[in-house]
């Protein structure tokens, strides 16, 4: 069974590109366009990893991250934060809130794929 990745971003074009990349790597994908939807999708689809944008309507990425980490059911869930704001304080904040990795937009597709793989398949 392929690993499942939830892509959360309010920019449709970014979602399309990430979706393509994840499918190419053989992952199943689920999409959400805002924070609330992301939480619902996590509950419904139980993904293995979330690619989480920060600047979103209806709950930003930090809040979503915090809420996911607060729920013990999602202990194994991996979270990668994606943001256009690349300042160190924001990186630190994301990691402090429990994200496993933090990527700054625009990112190199190779790096994103590598990061996702590393988190989902540590053995590889």
């Amino acid at each position: 069974m392929p690993k499942k990745v939830l892509i959360v971003d309010d920019e449709p074009n970014i979602v399309i590109s990430i979706e393509f990349l994840m499918k190419r790597e053989g992952f199943a994908t689920v999409v959400a366009h805002d924070g609330e939807a992301a939480l619902e999708k996590v509950a419904a689809e139980r993904p293995d990893l979330v690619l989480l944008d920060v600047m979103m309507p209806r709950r930003n990425g930090y809040e979503v991250c915090q809420m996911l980490r607060a729920n013990p059911d999602y202990a194994g869930l991996r979270i990668i934060m994606l943001t256009a704001k690349g300042r160190e304080t924001e990186v630190a904040k994301g990691l402090a809130l429990g994200a496993d990795a933090y990527m700054t937009k625009p990112f190199a597709t190779k790096d994103l794929v590598a990061q996702v793989r590393k988190l989902l398949d540590p053995a590889a």
């Binding site: 309010d10 920019e11 449709p12 074009n13 970014i14 399309i16 590109s17 990430i18 393509f20 990349l21 190419r24 366009h33 805002d34 600047m55 309507p57 209806r58 256009a84 704001k85 690349g86 300042r87 700054t104 937009k105 625009p106 990112f107 190199a108 597709t109 190779k110």
Partner: protein
């Protein structure tokens, strides 16, 4: 019958007893530290000591003779009071600072602590004021005899004959002497203040005002039927009708002006006025309020003068009655005995108040500036041996009081009959006016010297004696009448009342002119002639610049020498009493930094302190002599004093500069802090802006980079997908370009570097262009657009392209938010009050009130609260607003989604933009 001798004497005694009681109570309270006179009203009332029997009885007499001619004597003080905040305050400050306790001390001290000058002033004051005291005694005695002669009233009072002890005037003189001694010389005080006496004097002012007004009310409404009745009846008598205007001659106006000037100086420099205004002043603020309270008192006490005068003239006719006594005789003629008694008490209060204060003031001068200097000079050796001289000082004061009062009595008995009350008073006023040049000059002109002051005073006094005093003696028969008519030695040019042939003026104006001309001329002339010595220069500096130097202790030090602290304490002890001296030095030591008396150093400051203490008790000139006797003084040369003065003024100037600099520095600091805060604010704003810009830039870049990499990495991709991805890249690139353009646009707008190409523009064309530019968007969304444009519209001077941008923005926003398929957008252009209003209304979801301000913020996009991510940069509305505001217009949104759907974006341009030729057409 009420008005019998025992009743009248009894009333007088009871009244004096009440005065004693008030004065006693006032002193007790003062000793207990709870002053009853520390109130501006009490202060102003006590200034009412200016109103003597001259006012109480004499004004009516003067009014009966000359109509309104009695008034300048009260108008002068009213006018000059307006200047008290400047002149009197300076006198007050000088006197408090240097412990000056009399007008003689003030003048002597200013001109180098000159004993000669102080003595001269005292002499002039005594000679000049004794007739004035006599006037009071005369008025009281007159009123007494008129009252006792009731009902055979209305006769001119004759001085009592027979035994001297049955003479009411003499009895009153003795009683007043006792009163003055008890409350004026109870103890020696360095400040010479007498609170009990002031309280009594203030009370007397109330009594005389009440009594006079009571008579006035009785005459006006009791005897007659109001003011108009009195004046109507009087106008029927030709002689009285003539009094209602004054003679329109130069002499009349000249004498009016002269009296005004005379009273101005009198109200400040009469010894009793100086005593009350300056010496007895408790608080400088009281002076400030007396500026209007005192004139108000003068006005109040004068209201009924004319009605009483005319009432009396109608009642008794002009002949055969003493017009000065109408205040008494009018109530008596109508058998109002109580009222007459009240009037008598009122007159008594006016007289006693003046006598008491005047005598205290004069006795201080006589003691400090005439007797003490003589004693110190003649019997120095004998005085040296006495350790306590307070008894001597008090003895001299008491003796002076009795002597002055007896002198007044003597003058009254010998010369008083020849003149009306007012004329005697004016002679005194003229004498006191001689002090004015020396004082005013001394307070404001540093160049006034002792020689100038002595010369001026002497000249003025001699002329006064010759033109006023001697003629009054001639009138009284002490000098041959020829003195008046033919002058000295028969030289007509020297006739005392037409000096050098100056005729046509009344005696007072004539005397005032010549005495002032000589006085001022001599003061200025001699001052400019001779150089001042060091001590004078010092005093001139200290007096003229008293407000700069502050308290004397802090002033520059003009003393150099050596002394023993013990000697100084002993010296003060001899004049103030050992105990009081010890306490004064202890207080001084405490002020110098909480040290004991034995630790004091006999420096310049301590010597100055000693001298000031002594000055309060024996006058500044004598104090200087006494201090000089116990310290070894090195004389300072004039040059040295000048140097010190220069230094002092340099130090002062320097410290002013310093102050100025530190103020500037403080201001600069404040400004810097504010600027810094603004910068920090701007910085934060810029930071937010930059952060937002980067975010907005990174978003399309992310897509572009991702798809480019995908396309590169997956060459075998299907053609359809490849095409889709390429078109996304294109769209994101366009978005990026638009964003970059708008950010640059915004930056230019904000920094004011935008290039505005204003030309005559038809807004209808602008709207049509914008609609054409967005027509594809409308088509895509299936939205309808409606235009409502007027047929005629003046051209406006704007940059048309910019407004196309604005409208494209508004239309773009509108179409973005309407529901696909059912959208409707309406653009209308109207004129409201000549202003041009453009409105873009849509039928979309609308904008909540709390979101409305936000949408005009940069990078705040509408729809944050909606599910869908809006398309746009978040800069459109802020840019549009900037453009509209650049033209003095306004852009805003109106929407109330809870009531009806839709939002209306409206901008309004002021009519001033309308092109000129359009307006003309």
């Amino acid at each position: 019958m009420l008005l019998q001798l025992p009743v009248i004497i009894g009333a007088a005694f009871v009244y004096l007893a009440v005065l004693f009681a008030i004065a006693y109570y006032g002193d007790k309270r003062a000793d207990a530290g709870r002053s009853i006179i520390s109130h501006p009203l009490v202060y102003s009332l006590s200034l009412g000591v200016y109103c003597t029997t001259w006012t109480f009885y004499g004004s009516v007499g003067r009014a009966a003779a000359s109509g309104i001619g009695f008034l300048p004597v009260y108008l002068g003080p009213t006018l000059v009071a307006a200047l008290w905040g400047t002149i009197m305050l300076k006198m007050l400050r000088v006197s408090k600072t240097y412990r000056i306790t009399s007008i003689a001390d003030l003048i002597g001290s200013r001109y180098g602590k000159s004993q000669l000058l102080a003595g001269l002033v005292s002499l002039i004051a005594v000679i000049g004021v004794v007739p004035y005291i006599a006037l009071q005694l005369k008025a009281i005695a007159n009123s007494f005899s008129i009252l006792t002669a009731y009902p055979e009233t209305l006769a001119r009072a004759e001085p009592a004959s027979g035994m001297i002890f049955t003479d009411s005037g003499f009895l009153i003189t003795l009683m007043l002497a006792a009163f003055t001694i008890v409350f004026g010389t109870r103890h020696l005080d360095a400040t010479e203040r007498h609170e009990g006496m002031v309280a009594a004097v203030a009370f007397e002012s109330v009594v005389k005002l009440v009594a006079f007004s009571a008579v006035g009310v009785f005459v006006t409404w009791g005897i007659y039927d109001g003011f108009d009745d009195i004046f109507r009846r009087a106008s029927e008598v030709p002689a009285l009708f003539a009094l209602m205007t004054s003679r329109d001659t130069a002499a009349t106006y000249g004498s009016w002006t002269a009296l005004t000037l005379l009273s101005m100086s009198a109200v400040m420099f009469l010894p009793r006025q100086f005593q009350i205004t300056v010496v007895e002043n408790v608080d400088e603020n009281h002076l400030r309020r007396a500026i209007w309270m005192f004139p108000a008192y003068l006005l109040a006490i004068n209201i009924f003068v004319l009605p009483i005068a005319f009432g009396g003239l109608i009642e008794f006719g002009k002949q055969g009655t003493d017009t000065d006594m109408f205040v008494l005789t009018l109530p008596m003629s109508r058998d109002q005995q109580w009222l007459a008694l009240l009037a008598f008490v009122g007159g008594l209060s006016a007289g006693t108040g003046m006598i008491i204060v005047e005598t205290i003031a004069l006795s201080t001068m006589v003691c400090n500036d005439l007797v003490m200097p003589l004693l110190l000079r003649l019997r120095m050796q004998a005085l040296e041996r006495r350790s306590d001289l307070t008894w001597l000082l008090l003895g001299i004061r008491r003796f002076s009081i009795v002597s002055i009062l007896l002198l007044g009595y003597l003058y009254f008995r010998l010369a008083g009959e020849a003149y009306a009350l007012v004329s005697i008073g004016l002679i005194s006023f003229s004498a006191v006016a001689q002090f004015a040049p020396a004082i005013i000059g001394g307070l404001y002109w540093k160049g006034a010297t002792r020689r100038g002051a002595v010369a001026g005073l002497m000249a003025g006094f001699i002329v006064w004696t010759y033109t006023l005093l001697l003629p009054s003696f001639a009138r009284s028969g002490w000098l041959p009448q020829e003195f008046l008519t033919q002058g000295v030695f028969g030289i007509e040019l020297l006739r005392p009342q037409q000096l050098f042939g100056l005729a046509g003026l009344d005696a007072i104006t004539h005397a005032l002119f010549w005495s002032m001309a000589c006085n001022i001329g001599a003061l200025i002339g001699f001052s400019l002639l001779g150089r001042e010595d060091a001590r004078e220069a010092t005093q001139a500096e200290l007096f003229v610049d008293v407000f700069k130097h502050g308290s004397g202790v802090a002033g520059p030090s003009f003393w150099r020498g050596s002394a023993q602290v013990g000697d100084l304490i002993t010296l003060v002890g001899r004049f103030l009493g050992v105990e009081r001296a010890r306490r004064a030095f202890e207080r001084y030591a405490a002020r110098r930094g909480n040290i004991g008396v034995d630790q004091l150093r006999a420096d310049a400051d301590l010597v100055h302190f000693t001298e000031t203490q002594l000055a309060g008790a024996i006058g500044s000139a004598s104090a200087r002599v006494m201090v000089a006797s116990v310290v070894k003084e090195e004389a300072l040369g004039l040059d040295e004093v000048m140097n010190i003065l220069d230094e002092a003024s340099q130090v002062r100037a320097y410290s002013q500069q310093l102050e100025q600099k530190s103020r500037e520095l403080e201001q600069a600091t404040t400004e810097l802090r504010a600027a810094n805060e603004r910068l920090t604010d701007l910085d934060r704003l810029k930071d937010d802006f930059m952060s937002s810009v980067t975010h907005e830039l990174r978003t399309p870049l992310t897509s572009i980079r991702a798809f480019s990499e995908i396309l590169v990495d997956n060459p075998e991709m299907e053609e359809d997908q490849r095409q889709e991805f390429l078109s996304i890249i294109t769209k994101e690139t366009v978005r990026l370009t638009r964003l970059v353009n708008q950010v640059l646009d915004m930056a230019k707008l904000e920094s004011g570097r935008t290039d505005w190409r204003d030309e005559r523009t038809d807004l209808r064309e602008v709207i049509e262009q914008a609609v054409a530019a967005t027509s594809q968007l409308f088509k895509d969304r299936g939205a309808a657009i409606e235009l409502v444009l007027p047929d005629e519209l003046p051209g406006v001077m704007i940059d048309g392209d910019r407004f196309v941008q604005v409208l494209v923005n508004l239309l773009g926003n509108a179409v973005k938010f309407v529901n696909p398929g059912s959208g409707h957008v309406k653009v209308s252009l109207t004129r409201d009050d000549a202003d041009i209003v453009v409105e873009v209304a849509d039928n979309g979801p609308g904008i909540l009130a709390e979101d409305q301000p936000k949408i005009f913020e940069k990078f705040r996009q509408g729809g944050d609260s909606l599910t869908g991510k809006p398309q746009g940069t978040g800069l459109g509305l802020p840019i549009s607003r900037q453009i509209v505001e650049h033209y003095g217009g306004r852009l805003w949104v109106e929407s109330a989604p809870e009531r009806e759907p839709g939002a209306r974006f409206i901008f309004r341009l002021p009519s001033s933009l309308i092109a000129l030729e359009e307006e003309a057409a």
